[in-house]
Amino acid sequence: MRGTMITGLGAASGIAIAAVMAYAEPSLDYSAGTFGLPGLIDMPTAESAPEGMINASVFRFEGALRITATFQVTDRLSGAFRYSRVPGIFTNGSALYDRSFDVQYRLLDEAGWRPAVAIGLRDFIGTGIYSGEYIVASKTLTPRLRATAGLGWGRLGSHGDIGSPFGTRPALNFGQGGKANTDQWFRGPAAPFFGLAWAATDKLTLKAEYSSDGYPSETAAGTFSRDSSVNFGAEYRFNKSASLSAYYLYGSEVGLQFNLTLDPRRPPAPSGLETAPLPVRPRPAYAADPGAWATDWTEDPEVRPGIQTALAKALAKDGQVLESMALSATSVEVRIRNQRYLSQPQAVGRTARALTRALPPSVETFVITSMTEGMPASSVTLSRSDIERLESEESAEILRTARFSDPAAVADPGLVPSPGVYPRFVWSLAPYGEASVFDPDDPLRADFGLKLSGKYELRPGLVAAGSIRKKLIGNLDDSTRTSDSTVYHVRSDLVEYQKQGDPGIDNLTLAWYSRPAPNLYGRVTVGLLERMYGGVSGELLWKPVDSRLALGVEVNQVKQRDFDTLFTFRDYEATTGHVSAYYDFGHGFLGQVDVGRYLLGDWGATVTLDREFANGWKVGAYATFTDLSSADFGEGSFDKGVRLTIPVAWTTGKPSVNKVSTTIKPLNRDGGARLEVDGRLYETIRSTHQGDQQVQWGRFWR
């Protein structure tokens, strides 16, 4: 913002501002510690990143490699997911590759003499190598200097403790890891830690700390020597997003850390690099030209097809497909498939403006129905007078007049399909990449190749789709790792699929989407549903257009596919399915609970929480708990992961409905495994419903 403002103010004032900035006191921003969350060096602070920030950091020193992703979930709550390597920790000298999760909650803000206070848990559901709890206070002494002091337990109480205020710490039940170590929290020896951070300049922050981390396992393994409790650090910021930190640690080692901050609210490209919308064409006043308002055009059989053709053409130029239209003397319903704008209101707004240019003046009511996968998913009803009146006003004004409804509730809308929309065929040939990042033998393996995909829509809602892949280069097949799972390998033979499935059919399906009744959506998919399973999948979803709550049922009868991912199957069949509840909590938080039977036949539930930004960014986490014992599940005890979705338009500024999604799953085990089938209904229809459209409504007049 500051940089762009300078260009707006002209060169002279730009220099003036630069001069002011150079003399201005640098103020201290939060900065990441070696565990990724805001901190000093190894010790935490009570600082938080601004809400919504994502940070990735890579820290390396003799005693560890830590790759951490953090997310500021709310103003007060921070979360971190880490992949770390601790060398030589096992008796045979091999390294420990480990995944861990941290959380921190800021209890109090700084006010007057009071410091900010936070409480945190490190590595609270991992295998416990970094497990520690703390309470910490930070106080800004001058705008450039902040002091921090705290008390740590567990690993953070392993040096210089002052006794065990809350009793002894029970031995870690290492087991398979992956469970919350609740009985250990804040137990055992507690040790104080403290430190200072000082902003020497706007770009350079210096830090010093007294660490209460004794590095007991590392020093015992002899991989690292802890000669001092005092650490020093310097962080240099290249710009708003990248920084490099260097440390002198424990009197013996040098460490380096690279940090990258991503702000979902700060897109790299300016939004709106698109052609301008068609302006509204107002009608002549009735008094001025009553003839224009006549309705005798309805008797001319040429008019409706003429309008439909012209409108389809205008909308096609804007990336919208006019699937069908119903026209009367006073109202119109158009059913559009939005292929260009991530924000459905932008597609609706542009369609509304095109309608003002195409329809006779007597047509006052516009019903714009959003189609997804051939299903009418929601209707927005607008009056033409309001569109004419509010074109240059705040977008909230037209939202107040818009009415959302379920198109399936209308008995006979009298729709006429546009010619040539169905059948429809699209295809693509594109590169793909597949990486395995958590393989302890070789943490990074990858394949690259080409994927040919095709999609044929026979009629609205009936879709045949398939894709084949062929590897060109890669080393995933070098992996010698075999699943150690003691239960049937419903998922954990991934390596076999990667080795043998070349070329392979990713999926080959016929899907039927339908609206069986108002508020209900249906899907039936048959064929090779995913890489590992084929069969039948059926789903029914209840979601009123204005409801925060949605309920769904899914039942699948599937058979495991052979490793070569062609047309043959292995001898494993499963009935799996879930009852799901989805809830939009508001403020961008979406929750989902799925209860049912997983691929292994284990019963349980998956809990998912997503933070979705209005611009389409999404950060979420999920965990699955089933009746499979943690011994049977193996390492990790239960399935969990984090997921991230980034809209393509955010990165380019150009309109696009596409998003890039990834799920980071620390372990691929057999318990709590769900079928992965394309086109699940909730995500298919949600963006057209009232809640999502209201959030994105700012783009209506874009």
Binding site: S271, S395, V426, A430, S453, A614, G698
Partner: protein
């Protein structure tokens, strides 16, 4: 015959480049599958151009008078000429739509400036666009060539695409008279300056050269934090 030949030539040329491009870019009619790799290619290209930048010769700035004259001949409706200060882009815009007092002018590339009584109230297609504005009291003062105070509200989409207002308190002052001739029309104007300040201390100054009949013949107006100022000249009202 000639057309068929051209098509087949184009096809074979395409086939030759196809294999080379395919490995990185992807192709097909289903953008949901190809867009990801095309972005990767775009990033690689922009990095390459940053690392091996050869300064392109600055395009010759076209003569505004000539641009205006050419536009008058080729387009029958109202025309304005606009220059964006941040990018230097100079272009003519023809009237594209009219709704009450609001006029939408479009560039040949379908980017638009929206004016109400000569005051810029919105832009589209430029990126970081001005979504809408309220110019109520100040518009009246400027057009009547009167000094006074009023409120000017600008609205933008923030980084999350949520519409946010930027309210500003403005004072309108009257300045020097200026007579000039442009594109075959002479204008006798008075400069009206509108100085606006937001609650967070941002200050912008819009200048309007207004004729006795209330026409804004020439102006320099602030679009917003992302786009800076634009100079707008009336070619044909």
């Amino acid at each position: 015959m000639g057309e068929v030949l051209a098509v087949s030539l184009r096809r074979s040329a395409r086939a030759a480049t196809l294999l080379a491009l395919l490995a990185v870019a992807g192709c097909g009619s289903d953008t949901s599958k190809t867009e990801g790799s095309q972005i990767a290619l775009g990033v690689a290209k922009s990095l390459k151009s940053k690392m091996f930048s050869r300064k392109a010769a600055a395009p010759a700035t076209p003569d505004p008078e000539k641009l205006a004259q050419a536009a008058l001949k080729s387009f029958e409706g109202p025309i304005i000429l606009a220059q964006l200060e941040s990018s230097g882009l100079l272009t003519v815009l023809g009237e594209y739509g009219r709704n009450g007092a609001v006029r939408t002018y479009s560039t040949p590339n379908e980017q638009t400036l929206v004016l109400r009584d000569g005051l810029l109230i919105a832009t589209r297609g430029l990126g970081k666009d001005l979504m809408s504005s309220e110019t109520g009291e100040v518009a009246g003062l400027i057009l009547a060539r009167q000094a006074g105070n009023g409120r000017h509200v600008y609205r933008y989409l923030d980084g999350e695409d949520i519409e946010r207002p930027l309210p500003m308190e403005c004072s309108v002052t009257s300045g020097a008279a200026k007579s000039y001739s442009f594109a075959g029309t002479s204008h006798a104007t008075v400069e009206m300056a509108e100085t606006c300040r937001s609650a967070d201390g941002r200050t912008v100054t819009n200048s309007y050269w207004v004729t006795g009949s209330g026409l804004v013949a020439l102006s320099r107006q602030w679009i917003g934090p992302g786009l800076g100022y634009v100079t707008i000249q009336t070619v044909r009202p």
